[in-house]
């Protein structure tokens, strides 16, 4: 029996947790999560086995009535991503979700299985109908998971916002499927590949597909649900949503672009690239301003999806210039970065969950010095933070390096000055994004884990249980492994895009890309060897000079002892960026006097800083105002008077009669 189908079955068994008796809640949770672990492992195994083996047949090809499951290499990549991320996040959830004991834990575990099942089903769908059904189940289940802590008002608001937004996206995707399907023999993907949609309708289909999938992957300006939904959901759910669900949108968009719509129109790629770049930069800027740990990570997801889509758009532009051999690097970059983002964002959300579990708050202003209380978590978080700010020896850099290579390739091939200017703009955006991301994660890690405790909640912090650490450990190991030995990942991704016969970019030495005229090489092994040598050298010098005399003392502070209030705050740390990009961020300071008895003493004031979201203010609120205004205009037509309604019928009848006569 097919391993992949078996894994779907195991997910279904796991979903049965919902109907277990209430007395056996904990057993139900363990059984359900173990099902998820096993099934994810099976999914990952079949996906990776398919990708490594020579791809002659399809990964899966089955159909029941009008439903069909067909998976090729492109699905295989995302099936592997889902399997791997699902595997380690489910292990983590074994312990983490125990915190929901007595708070509908059976529903949480059952829906978790269903969520993984629906994601896999989207990736395996072989026709538009199956795709949409699975897509909607995924949206619905993720809505229920976000809404799990429904007692909290903010959670409910965030969940419903997510629901509304995701349905707008589904509507756009439905339009795109309808337009393509009505111009092909049937709605199966194999037939839709040979559609004859042309002209303006093709543009509309592309725009609808892009809008729908961009919404799901949280590209600006359709991202507004994402920074609200991720913090509201339980941490393992946010890890899976951010790590995997956003990639599913990339999968769908890739299928549309590669197979249904094509890449021959230049501005398609340009649009995708620009939206990606702008999202990447603005998201990391907003992320740096946040003090809520999970909101920072949510914005970072928008940033990384922006980078992925920018690389994808770069590939589309190269394809429209008939440079298929060079476009390979861009698509490989998008996929490698998608893979590494699923690892590192999964890891970071898991560690955010661990920190929340330990201190009971998401606000990093109240943390500090956590490294002493929870050293393992701190170590894994450091790896995740390094990866997200694309440091060497982590998988984050591999993706970013390939993204930069793809833009350099585009710069080499840019024939017109306009395109060159655009590529320069892209480099500026990518550079700003990378620098700001580094700042963002130095801030996150430094404020939360280093320094002194900023409030008493840190005192009760404790190291996390075994399975949570194991889940984070696996993710951290994969991040480092893919960062030090990148060639297997890169080669597999490249062979999916370019076919198994192309010269692989990765070798034992590192990654080599010769498309941009000169050879560019990134070899983590070499850098590692160099770093170790340098380290030994420096250590030797120090051992030579210091004579074992160490004196420990408190930091000198002009004669007073330093307190935790003298440390950098998270808000203070991001102040320079807030000043530099004040025109975009438009920070609003509010001062409120709580008590003012006397001019000079006894005053109490409250000071808070608000960063309004640019798109909410400039796009969503005007649309909302306009909609409310136009609905009240429609109210005049719909007065509630029966005579008026009969009058409308009469007018319509007269009109039809006259029209029939004419």
């Amino acid at each position: 029996m097919n391993v992949l189908l078996g894994s779907l079955l195991v997910y279904l068994v796991g979903a049965l947790t919902i109907i277990w008796p209430k007395k056996l809640e904990l057993t139900a949770h363990y059984a359900g999560m173990l099902c998820a672990v096993a099934a994810s492992g099976m999914t990952a195994f079949s996906g990776i086995a398919y990708l490594i083996m020579p791809k002659s047949a399809l990964l899966i090809d089955a159909s029941w009535g009008s439903y069909s499951l067909i998976a090729d290499g492109w699905s295989g990549v995302f099936v592997s991503i889902t399997g791997i991320a699902g595997f380690f996040i489910s292990i983590y959830a074994l312990d983490y979700a125990k915190g929901y004991l007595g708070k509908r834990i059976r529903a949480l575990t059952g829906l978790w299985n269903l969520f993984l099942l629906s994601i896999t089903a989207v990736l395996l769908a072989g026709d538009a109908f199956t795709f949409i059904v699975a897509w909607e189940i995924m949206a619905l289940v993720s809505f229920l998971l976000v809404n799990h802590e429904a007692g909290n008002k903010d959670t409910v608001a965030a969940a419903y916002q997510y629901m509304v937004m995701t349905h707008l996206g589904t509507a756009a995707i439905l339009i795109a499927f309808y337009l393509l399907g009505s111009h092909s023999a049937s709605f199966s993907f194999a037939d839709m590949m040979h559609n004859n949609l042309d002209g303006i309708m093709r543009h509309i289909a592309f725009l609808c597909a892009f809008a729908g999938f961009a919404l799901k992957s949280g590209l600006m300006p359709l991202h507004i649900w994402l920074p609200n939904a991720h913090p509201a959901a339980p941490s393992h759910v946010s890890a899976l949503m951010s790590g995997v669900m956003l990639k599913v949108a990339l999968y769908g968009f890739g299928r549309f672009v590669f197979q249904f719509i094509g890449m021959d129109v230049f501005w398609y790629g340009l649009l995708v690239m620009l939206v990606g770049l702008v999202s990447a930069f603005l998201a990391v800027l907003y992320g740096t301003m946040e003090v809520d740990m999970k909101r920072i990570l949510a914005y970072s997801s928008v940033e990384n999806m922006g980078i992925i889509f920018a690389a994808f758009g770069c590939g589309m532009v190269l394809m429209s210039m008939n440079l298929a051999p060079l476009a390979v690097v861009a698509f490989t970059a998008a996929m490698v970065h998608a893979f590494s983002h699923s690892l590192m964002k999964g890891l970071m959300f898991m560690s955010a969950g661990a920190v929340m579990h330990a201190v009971g708050s998401k606000n990093i202003e109240k943390m500090g010095g956590l490294i002493k209380k929870m050293p393992y978590t701190a170590f894994f978080t450091l790896i995740g933070a390094m990866a997200l700010s694309s440091m060497p020896f982590t998988s984050g850099l591999i993706g970013e390096w390939l993204v930069l290579q793809s833009f350099i390739t585009l710069a080499q091939q840019a024939g017109t000055p306009e395109l060159r200017l655009l590529v320069i703009f892209a480099f500026i955006m990518l550079g700003l994004t990378g620098a700001a991301a580094l700042g963002c994660f130095v801030r996150l890690y430094g404020i939360a884990f280093l320094g002194r405790p900023r409030s008493h909640i840190v005192e009760n912090a404790h190291e996390q249980p075994f399975f949570m650490l194991l889940g984070m450990g696996i993710a951290a190991f994969l991040v480092v492994a893919a960062g030090v030995v990148p060639d297997p990942v890169v080669n597999v991704m490249q062979s999916v895009v370019a076919g198994p016969l192309s010269t692989p970019m990765g070798g034992a030495f590192g990654i080599i890309w010769g498309g941009s005229g000169h050879y560019a090489v990134y070899s983590p092994v070499l850098i590692l060897a160099l770093a170790i040598l340098l380290g030994i050298f420096i250590a030797a010098i120090f051992i030579g000079t210091t004579r074992g005399f160490v004196r420990r003392d408190v930091t000198w502070n002009c004669g007073t002892y330093p307190t935790s209030r003298q440390q950098y705050t998270a808000t203070g740390f991001s102040k320079p960026l807030r000043r530099a990009f004040g025109t975009i961020l438009n920070p609003q300071r509010h001062t409120e006097y709580l008590r003012k008895d006397h001019d000079y003493y006894g005053r109490k004031m409250k000071f808070y800083l608000e960063i309004p979201d640019l798109f909410t203010e400039k796009l969503y609120k005007p649309v909302q105002t306009w909609m409310i205004a136009s609905s009240s205009a429609f109210r005049h037509i719909q007065e509630g008077s029966v005579s008026l309604y009969i009058g409308y019928t009469m007018l319509a009848m007269i009109f039809v009669l006259i029209w029939g006569v004419l």
Partner: protein, 209 residues
């Protein structure tokens, strides 16, 4: 038949000018009498037996006796029998009816040129539109019921002419429909009289949330 059409048009025009509720009911009954005579005429000319007579008998029983009788009873319970209307509103109704008549003939000329029942079709279009306009323009529930029956008569006449005898089941169904609608309307109107002391439908706007 041509005389019948003349009478029918006359009655319909009269209906647009009547403000007294009792007179409106009498007008409705006479309109239905004309329709039933037309039914008998058409039925006997095309066939014989019970099926030929049934539409006429049913029209007589339901639209001449039962419905006007029920409305008449209802009017008897009302204290204020006149509908307060400005003269211009009545004039507009009449003018609209005249326009509908012209429109009916224009439609017949264009859609069914040279058909035998040209006058009857035009008259039925006139009845349909006038019934609608009575329901829209007038405020009193009684007059609106009269408008509904006028509309129904027009549709029935048109159907009778076009199909030359409907199947028995369909005819029975149509009459049952009208009967039930009128029963419900009469009940609602008398409830309205009890609650609001009037049958002016504009007071119903108070019920809006």
């Amino acid at each position: 038949m041509e005389y019948l059409v003349v009478f029918l048009v006359l009655v319909v025009f009269l209906q647009t000018r009547i403000t007294n509720l009792r007179r409106a009911v009498i007008c409705l009954a006479s309109q239905s009498v004309i329709i039933s005579i037309a039914c008998f005429g058409l039925g006997l000319s095309s066939g014989s037996g019970l099926h030929a007579l049934l539409p006429g008998i049913l029209t007589l029983a339901v639209k001449v006796i039962f419905i006007p009788g029920a409305v008449w009873n209802l009017v008897g319970k009302l204290t204020n029998e006149r509908e307060i209307l400005s003269e211009s509103n009545v004039n507009y109704s009449t003018m609209a009816a005249a326009l509908f008549l012209v429109m009916g003939y224009a439609i017949v000329e264009r859609l069914l040129p040279g058909s035998a029942g040209r006058d009857i079709i035009a008259a039925s279009i006139l009845m349909i539109m006038t019934g609608l306009s009575l329901m829209v323009l007038r405020k009193r529930a009684i007059i609106q019921i009269v408008g509904l029956i006028t509309l129904e008569n027009g549709i029935y006449l048109l159907g009778l002419l076009m199909t030359e005898g409907l199947p028995l089941v369909v005819e029975l169904g149509v009459f049952l429909d009208v009967l039930i609608a009128v029963v419900v309307l009469v009940i609602l109107t008398s409830r309205m009289r009890l609650s609001f002391m009037t049958t002016d439908t504009s007071v119903m706007k108070k019920l809006k949330g």
